[in-house]
Symmetry: C2
Subunit: 699 residues, 2 copies
């Protein structure tokens, strides 16, 4: 008999790797030589852990122990010497407890014996003696502990170099990028200044560039230098003291390895470019977590992440970054502020957790977060007012959007999010068989929904009014609650049409200026069939940035601004982020509303495909339905080809003729709409149809 050696893996308190990494990542932001910690609370891992494993072995065996932190070892309650990192375990059944303490980082443990090995089957407690399963990932070597986790890197050359009159060099990497500047053939002594720019103007502004580094080069310094801190940049200006030589410059590009599972091409080259730049933008901001922007804030915001999750389902379908971001944002108890301090951002977290289940079917992840979900929900409920509605409490940031608006009292926008949070929590509770809670939350959601509509719905003006202060309706109408009411499925068909006409397509209602809220507005318009309008908006808004030379999409874009005025924000000439996750919205719009793919059941147990050209001559691409599955679609004005994956799908189609398909029977569902079951897996369906004239000219 041969015994196979067990594979050991590093283990820690579940969730604490993400909490620790979030802290690390958020504290990497620097501006002009100063650290720039987030405006919101940062949590820390537990400091003192006990790892337990009750083992049974026929013969005694030696284990080797590696730990992040100081540790001791007890067998059946008695301490055994462990300074050598090797211990002989006695045969039989024994209770092995290894205590690990780490004040500064993440306490973690790696134990390797021939049959005893650390892994998710062990127990861990943060010394509260409540044993839970430890967290683990892919750290399977003693010498590769979790603290050594880094994203991948690859050397990147610059595209062009400009010698400036003052003798300094302006290096251009040709597009927005992220990483560690490398100086080759560096000789000193002296000082090298690096001025970074997302724009040329920023790199040239010693006084106002947001990021700079000062490198002190000793006379005997090594020739090869890699800067210790990563930066967002397209340009870097290098100013070296007299006597300093820098032979060559490169960047150690740093990135999360993801698969580009979503693909999109169409008849319009501008839209194709928008798609490509969107994917690159999202890739740069998809890292340890979803960041808002890579230069600024380099932090993790729940509202921004909510969009990134959605876009991720149509591009990388990277479930792990969703999970990491979700865990990090929720942080630890006790909650004494909303997530990121923002009222709306607590709700986005809850809704996003449901979305993650809906797109991936990962109920185990929901189960692992369930206590945290209920805790956050209870925090929100405790702060509801006597009407059961939420409004800003002292210390709350009622964000909604950067636009000027009245944020006092009960905002219909916040009630829509809160109501949806209650609904999805009730559904998750039911899935986890917490029936009492499910019913309680469901009743609460119904009651709030009823009150929301009784309070804010204005039939005459066809939408939800903006807010109520001290019991007095304020009368104004904004787009926010109305578009979310469509997106979060809170309106009937008649109400949707009213909202579309009276609010979304009504110029008298204040327009939306951030790509953040534009994303939701355009998605809501797609929900009511306005793809053609959305397409033209994409061309002008995102295309406008491309016309200005954008290589990634921006935090804000105002077509009226000229030249470097585009880069200003918050009174600082270059504070605007030129690579912002929420700029990548077209991926979602094109994947969900043109390719038309979305789950019909949780985890894409059934795939809905409802493609629309929206005024394009043809579209083609792939939408992932899991990490290892996708559907491929080609559509032009008369034909449609669909390659199914490993999941059954349903096609819904609008056509002026009755579509035909050799492989299946197309059924009419009224109003020029047709349906076809795509039950054959890994199969190609070819459908003949004729596209419906778009209504784009009406807009």
């Amino acid at each position: 008999m041969t015994t196979e050696k067990q594979t050991a893996t590093w283990i820690w308190y579940p969730g604490d790797f993400e909490i620790w990494l979030h802290r690390e990542v958020c504290l990497r932001r620097e501006e002009r030589g100063s650290i720039y910690p987030p405006f919101y609370r940062l949590d820390s891992p537990y400091v003192s852990l006990k790892f337990q494993h009750i083992y049974t072995i026929a013969e005694s065996e030696e284990i080797s122990i590696a730990a992040e932190g100081r540790y001791n070892v007890m067998i059946d309650g008695l301490m055994v010497p462990s300074a050598s990192g090797r211990i002989v375990l006695p045969a039989g059944e024994h209770n092995l407890i290894i205590s690990v303490v780490n004040e500064a980082g993440l306490p973690a443990l790696f134990v390797q014996g021939s049959s005893v090995a650390s892994g998710p089957h062990w127990n861990v407690s943060h010394t509260n003696w409540q044993w839970v399963s430890p967290g683990s990932w892919h750290f399977n070597k003693a010498t590769e502990p979790p603290s050594a986790y880094r994203l991948a890197t690859i050397k990147q050359s610059y595209m062009s170099e400009e010698q400036l009159p003052d003798g300094s060099r302006l290096i251009d990497f040709g597009k927005e990028t992220f990483g560690y500047i490398q100086l080759h053939g560096l000789t000193g002594p002296g000082k090298v200044m690096l001025y970074y720019g997302e724009s040329r103007e920023e790199a040239l502004s010693e006084a106002h560039c947001e990021t700079l580094d000062c490198i002190e080069v000793a006379a005997d310094a090594p020739l090869e230098y890699t800067h210790h801190a990563s930066r967002a940049l397209r340009y870097v200006r290098i100013v070296a003291d007299v006597g300093i030589e820098v032979r060559d410059v490169s960047l150690l590009y740093e990135y999360l390895p993801v698969q580009y599972r979503g693909q999109f091409r169409c008849s319009n080259e501008s839209i194709n470019e928008i798609w490509n730049i969107s994917v690159y933008t999202l890739h740069l901001t998809t890292r340890e977590f979803f960041l808002d922007g890579i230069k600024r804030d380099r932090w993790v915001w729940s509202g921004d992440a909510y969009q990134s999750y959605l876009i991720n389902y149509y591009s990388f379908f990277d479930e792990a970054v969703n999970r990491r971001t979700t865990i990090a944002l929720r942080g630890k108890d006790p909650l004494d502020t909303h997530l990121n301090t923002i009222l709306d951002y607590s709700f986005f977290w809850i809704i996003a957790l449901y979305d993650h289940y809906w797109y991936t079917g990962d109920l185990e992840f929901v189960r692992s977060m369930y206590k945290k979900l209920l805790g956050l929900l209870d925090f929100c409920r405790r702060r509801a007012n006597v009407n059961g509605m939420v409004e800003g409490q002292p210390g709350d940031w009622v964000f909604v959007d950067w636009a000027d608006m009245d944020k006092q009292g009960e905002l219909s926008f916040q009630q829509v999010l809160y109501c949806r949070s209650l609904e999805v929590s009730a559904q998750l509770a039911a899935l986890l068989e917490d029936e009492v809670r499910a019913q309680e939350l469901s009743r609460e959601a119904s009651s709030l929904k009823k009150q929301l509509f009784e309070t804010f719905w204005d039939e005459e003006h066809g939408g939800l009014l903006h807010n109520r202060v001290n019991g007095v309706l304020q009368g104004g109408m904004t787009r926010y609650s109305n578009m979310f009411a469509i997106l979060l499925d809170m309106l009937d068909e008649k109400q949707r049409q009213l909202v579309a006409r009276h609010v979304l397509k009504n110029d008298a209602v204040p327009s939306i200026v951030t790509p953040y809220m534009r994303f939701f507005e355009l998605a809501a318009l797609c929900e009511v069939g306005e793809q053609a309008y959305v397409l033209s908006e994409m061309k002008s808004y995102w295309g406008g940035m491309l016309d200005l030379g954008a290589t990634t999409f921006w935090e804000k874009y105002d077509p009226e601004l000229e030249g470097a005025a585009q880069y200003e924000s918050s009174g600082r000439p270059f504070a605007k982020s030129l690579c912002h996750a929420w700029g990548a919205g077209p991926i979602y719009l094109l994947g969900k509303y043109f390719m038309g793919v979305r789950p019909l059941d949780a985890g894409y147990a059934k795939v809905l495909i409802e493609p629309t050209l929206g005024g394009l001559s043809w579209i083609e691409g792939t939408v992932p339905t899991a990490e290892d599955d996708a559907v491929a679609i080609f559509m032009d004005e008369t034909s449609l080809r669909i390659r199914t994956g490993n999941r059954p799908a349903v096609l819904r189609l609008t056509s002026v003729i009755e579509p035909t398909c050799e492989a299946g029977i197309v059924g009419a569902i009224g109003d020029n709409r047709y349906e076809l079951s795509l039950d054959s897996l890994q199969s190609e369906y070819v459908i003949a149809y004729r596209t419906y004239p778009t209504q784009s000219t009406n807009i």
Copy 2:
């Protein structure tokens, strides 16, 4: 006009200095080369702080900044360069925010300008944007930050040295002590082993001594060596490699500077020695916090601390160590276990907080802990059963005492503590004008008290029965709940006498074996006038340890054991702690029940003096009534001299004749009891009386 320079002091998040220091101190325990972290949860300071100061200055001024951690500076929301540690503040009114981040230690800040200086008038937030007043202490120099806090040290020489046959040296410091071993005239290279012993036998046992150190000496090491870690010891055996020279040995004794405010002498030399050794024992265990023992556990336990607080009022009256211990023990939210995981220990914390107010009158400290008090109380209340009583929940340690007993179900002992916790919390709530809460808690306390007596009081057997399991009374009687019912003032006079006769003085009720619970038992006996019995118990129990050569009092003492068997605990030959705070109980017994001093009003607004010889010919001493106040007492069988402090006092006295006093009018209060108001401050009162014959012979 000259402007006086403001005094700056280091500031931090309130309570976080204590939380950080507690973590540091608890993690200093090592056994035979391994760290030995506590069995209970350790909390950490907040990592990311914002310090705020809204200043108004007529002229701009420069400030210098020192921080523990990385920091940045914003004035009116705009970051200003701060890498140099010096900033010029613009004149006028401005909002200065300094963010400090420290992942491993305590984030803290020190700002010194001519008129702007960090201090308790600043604000701080742990980035939850709820501003509170920062914590501070006596760290008033930029170069002396809180992380550098150390107890005082002084060089201590050893008393004798023994050359052992194997060439090693056994150093004896003559008594139990604590500090850092110093080796003088040390030359290498090689290894020096240090084997510590609280007893000679322990130091001689390489295999079983609890503490040892291995020092690697390099050939070029300095001649003077001080070990980095402090140890508890009386003996140290030094075993050096061949070629190593050690010219001399000493100890850097480490101690908390306290004042010996309480004094006691009496006609019995053995009792005087017990007092002295008790004070030394308490001093060794009174450090950054009240430790249980200095060798083992070197941790902070709430039940042990409860006694130390009480003893402290009659010795050092050091309020600061009480506060530090209270803050550290409570830790941070969320609570998911009782303090130290022990049910009883949560209640001791609550009762001790009230005691601290009662002895010191420090309502501000109570105010600062009030949220934490309510949080802990709510944690306990949430875990009460349907009868409103507490019993062990999964994960709870129901401790009571080390003795064997049934710990299932509802213990009357736990209900007594819980009930008193509710009562004192109600009183504190009333003092803080939280009337609604006060009434609610008071009602709850009354209801529980009623139920406690209805359930457990057994009139026939004259005491509280031990426990009830699943509604069924178990019938047994133990001392614990009964003596605490006396001490915590829950019995009427008739019940007290019943309990004294049927429980405390009844050999059929299982006797108490730990000094921990003996303390309470003897105090309860004093409460019912059994000082003479208590005196003889002190002589035999504490005196028994002295007879065995104790230089500090032990964790446990069993007169039946012989020789080194005294040192065994938990199956380890030298695990028993020979310097344990709860061994210092005689200080409290002698101060409170012989000198007879206790507060009649909170903070000794009025001092009660009720002295008793308890069989001694004379007693004399001082009892502190504040950090800067005390009463001095001399009493023999016919006379009494009292020197009042700055507080009015009341004397109550038992005498077979009517006492006389020139300075006041003695009033009879019946039953050979007399009372005299001592209203003159800083005055000496001389009273003639005749002592009542003691009842010691009855026992």
